[in-house]
C-alpha cells in the first residue's frame, strides 16, 4: 500500500464516516457557487446589454451641400477614415443625398403632407461611422472635424446623451465587479468556515496523529483531498445548474428586450464552468489546509 493510496483511502473513508459534515460542506459549496455562478451569468448578460446600448452610439458626419463635395473628395475621405483608422473605426458607411431623402420619405410615409412642399433635395450626404470602442466617440469626432473641416458641415454624435450613457454604463460595470468580488469573498468565507468546522470536530484525531509522529503533510494530505473532492463535486453540480439557468435566462432576456441584441456568445460557458470548478477546488484545498493550521501547531 503506497502512501498516496493510503491518503486517498483515508480521505474517502472519512468523507463517508462524517457523512453529515460531508453533506453540509457539499451543500454549502453548491449553494455558494450557484449564487456566484448566477451572478457571473447575470453580469455577462448585463455587460452584453450595456455593450449593445453603447454600440448604438454613432458619429454622423454631414457634408456641405452648397456646393456638394466631389466624388473624389468623398472617396478620399472615406478611405482615410476606413480602412485608414481601422484600429478605432469599425465601419464607415456613406449615405448619399438620395438615400437620405428616401429615408426621410420613409419616416413620413404616413404623413405625405409634410413633404409636399419639398422641392429638389436639400439634404446633405453623410458618413455614418461606428467605432470599435464607442467610449472614444468624442475624440474621433474631434479628429474628423479638424481633419476634414473644408468638407464638413456638421459632426453629430449625441454629445448630450453619450456622456450620461457612458457615465451610467461605466458605473454599472464597477458595481457589477464589486458585486462579484463581494460574493466571491462570501463564498470563500462560507466554504472555508464549513470545512474548518468539520476539521474542528476532528481535532482529537489530528492530535493523536501528531503524538504518533505523523508529519504535518502526512496529516494534511487526506484533509486536502477531502476538501478538493467536496469543492469539485459541489462546484460541478453548481456549474450544471448555472448553465441550465443561463439557458432559460438568456432566452427570456432575448424575448423581453428585443430592441437590443444579446449575442449568443455573451456568456462564455466554458470560462464560467472552469472558473466555478477552479473556485470550488481551490477553496476546498485552501480551506482544509488553513483550517488545519492551528491544530498542527502542537
Amino acid at each position: 500500500m503506497g502512501k498516496i493510496s493510503f491518503f486517498f483511502k483515508e480521505a474517502f473513508g472519512s468523507l463517508r464516516r462524517n457523512y453529515f459534515m460531508t453533506v453540509a460542506a457539499l451543500v454549502t459549496v453548491f449553494l455558494s457557487i450557484v449564487v456566484l455562478g448566477g451572478v457571473l451569468v447575470f453580469v455577462f448578460t448585463t455587460d452584453a446589454l450595456l455593450e449593445g446600448v453603447e454600440q448604438k452610439v454613432e458619429i454622423t458626419v454631414f457634408l456641405k451641400t452648397n456646393p456638394d463635395p466631389s466624388q473624389d473628395e468623398i472617396d478620399a475621405m472615406q478611405a482615410a477614415i476606413y480602412p485608414g483608422w481601422k484600429d478605432v473605426v469599425k465601419s464607415c458607411t456613406f449615405v448619399t443625398k438620395e438615400e437620405a431623402l428616401q429615408r426621410v420619405k420613409d419616416w413620413f410615409k404616413d404623413k405625405p403632407e409634410v413633404l409636399e412642399n419639398l422641392t429638389g433635395n436639400p439634404l446633405p450626404a453623410s458618413f455614418e461611422i461606428s467605432l470599435i470602442d464607442p467610449q472614444g466617440v468624442s475624440m474621433v469626432a474631434e479628429r474628423i472635424k479638424s481633419q476634414f473641416a473644408p468638407l464638413i458641415d456638421e459632426v453629430k454624435f449625441g454629445e448630450e446623451y453619450t456622456e450620461a450613457l457612458f457615465g451610467f454604463t461605466n458605473k454599472a460595470r464597477v458595481f457589477l465587479l464589486v458585486f462579484i468580488v463581494l460574493l466571491g469573498i462570501v463564498a470563500i468565507l462560507l466554504i472555508s468556515n464549513t470545512i474548518r468546522l468539520s476539521i474542528f470536530a476532528r481535532k482529537r484525531e489530528v492530535e493523536i496523529m501528531k503524538l504518533v509522529g505523523a508529519t504535518n503533510w502526512f496529516i494534511r494530505w487526506p484533509f486536502v483531498i477531502e476538501g478538493v473532492t467536496v469543492g469539485f463535486v459541489g462546484a460541478l453540480a453548481a456549474a450544471a445548474v448555472v448553465l441550465v439557468l443561463n439557458h432559460y435566462l438568456s432566452g427570456w432576456v432575448r424575448s423581453a428586450i428585443t430592441f437590443l441584441t444579446v449575442p449568443l456568445d455573451a456568456v462564455p460557458f466554458v470560462l464560467i464552468t472552469v472558473v466555478l470548478l477552479g473556485v470550488g477546488v481551490v477553496i476546498g484545498a485552501l480551506g482544509s489546509a488553513i483550517g488545519l493550521r492551528r491544530f498542527l501547531k502542537v
Binding site: M1, G2, K3, F6, G13, S14, R17, R204, E205, E207, I208, M209, K210, L211, V212, G213, A214, T215, N216, F218, V298
Partner: protein
C-alpha cells in the same frame, strides 16, 4: 537517555509547572513519576515529547538538546518515543489493527512486513483475536493494550506512560504493568507517571516524586510514599 538540567516551566501568568528540575534517567531504566495532580508530572512528559518548551534550562532526550530541534523534526523525535495515555488516545474510526498500523504507516512503513509486525505485536499484548475490533467494542484494559501495542510497534528506545492505569480496575492494571515491565526488559526505557500507590510499592523501582513542580525525592528502589 533523559537529562533535565535546571528545567523551569511557568504557565502564564504565574502557575509553576516545573521549577529547577535536574535529573538523569539512564537507558533501560524503569522510572515512576509520582505526585499529586498539579505537581508537574504532565508538564514533565509534555516537555519530553516537545509539546512544550522549557522557559529555562535544558531538556535532553537520547543525547539531543530538544531546544535545538527544528519544528519539522519533531515528528521524528516522537517516532522514537512511544506514548501511552490515561485516555488511550486511539483513533475511534480505526480497528485495533489499523491503529497499530497507523504508527507504522506514518513512518513510511506500510509494507507487507509491517502488517505482519502489527499483527504480531497485537498477539503479544494478548489481542490477536480482536485485531478487527473498533475501540468502542473493546474494554478499557483492551484499549490500553492496543495503545501500548501502537506505542511499542516501532521499538522506540523510550516509552512514556501518563497514568496508563488511571481508568482501570486493579486486576486489569496489573496486566498493563506486566506489559510495560516486559517492554522494559527488551531494553526500552520506561517513564511512567502514576497515582497508583499500590503498584509503585509492589514494583520497587526508581521513584521520582514531584511536589509543586520540584523534585522532592529520587529513590533507586522506592515506594510511593516515604519509606
Amino acid at each position: 537517555m533523559i537529562k533535565f538540567e535546571d528545567v523551569t516551566k511557568i504557565y502564564p501568568p504565574s502557575t509553576v509547572g516545573l521549577e529547577k528540575v535536574s535529573l538523569h534517567i539512564e537507558k533501560g531504566e524503569f522510572v515512576f513519576l509520582v505526585g499529586a495532580s498539579g505537581s508537574g508530572k504532565s508538564t514533565f512528559i509534555r516537555l519530553l515529547i516537545r509539546e512544550l518548551e522549557p522557559d529555562r534550562g535544558r531538556v535532553m532526550v537520547g543525547g539531543r538538546d530538544l531546544a535545538t530541534l527544528r519544528s519539522w523534526k519533531i515528528p521524528y523525535l516522537r517516532r522514537n518515543i512511544g506514548c501511552v495515555f490515561q485516555d488511550f488516545k486511539l483513533l475511534t474510526n480505526k480497528t485495533a489493527f489499523e491503529n497499530v498500523m497507523y504508527a507504522l504507516v506514518v513512518t513510511g512503513n506500510a509494507t507487507g512486513a509491517s502488517k505482519k509486525k502489527a499483527a504480531e505485536i497485537l498477539s503479544l499484548v494478548g489481542l490477536g483475536h480482536k485485531a478487527e475490533s473498533y475501540p468502542n467494542e473493546l474494554s478499557g484494559g483492551e484499549q490500553q493494550r492496543v495503545s501500548i501495542a501502537r506505542a511499542f510497534v516501532n521499538h522506540p528506545p523510550l516509552l512514556i506512560a501518563d497514568e496508563p492505569t488511571g481508568n482501570l480496575d486493579p486486576d486489569t492494571s496489573m496486566g498493563i504493568m506486566q506489559l510495560l515491565y516486559r517492554i522494559n526488559k527488551t531494553g526500552t526505557t520506561v517513564v511512567m507517571a502514576t497515582h497508583d500507590r499500590e503498584m509503585v510499592d509492589r514494583m520497587r523501582r526508581r521513584v521520582i516524586a514531584l511536589e509543586a513542580g520540584k523534585v522532592v525525592r529520587d529513590q533507586k528502589r522506592g515506594g510511593y510514599g516515604e519509606d
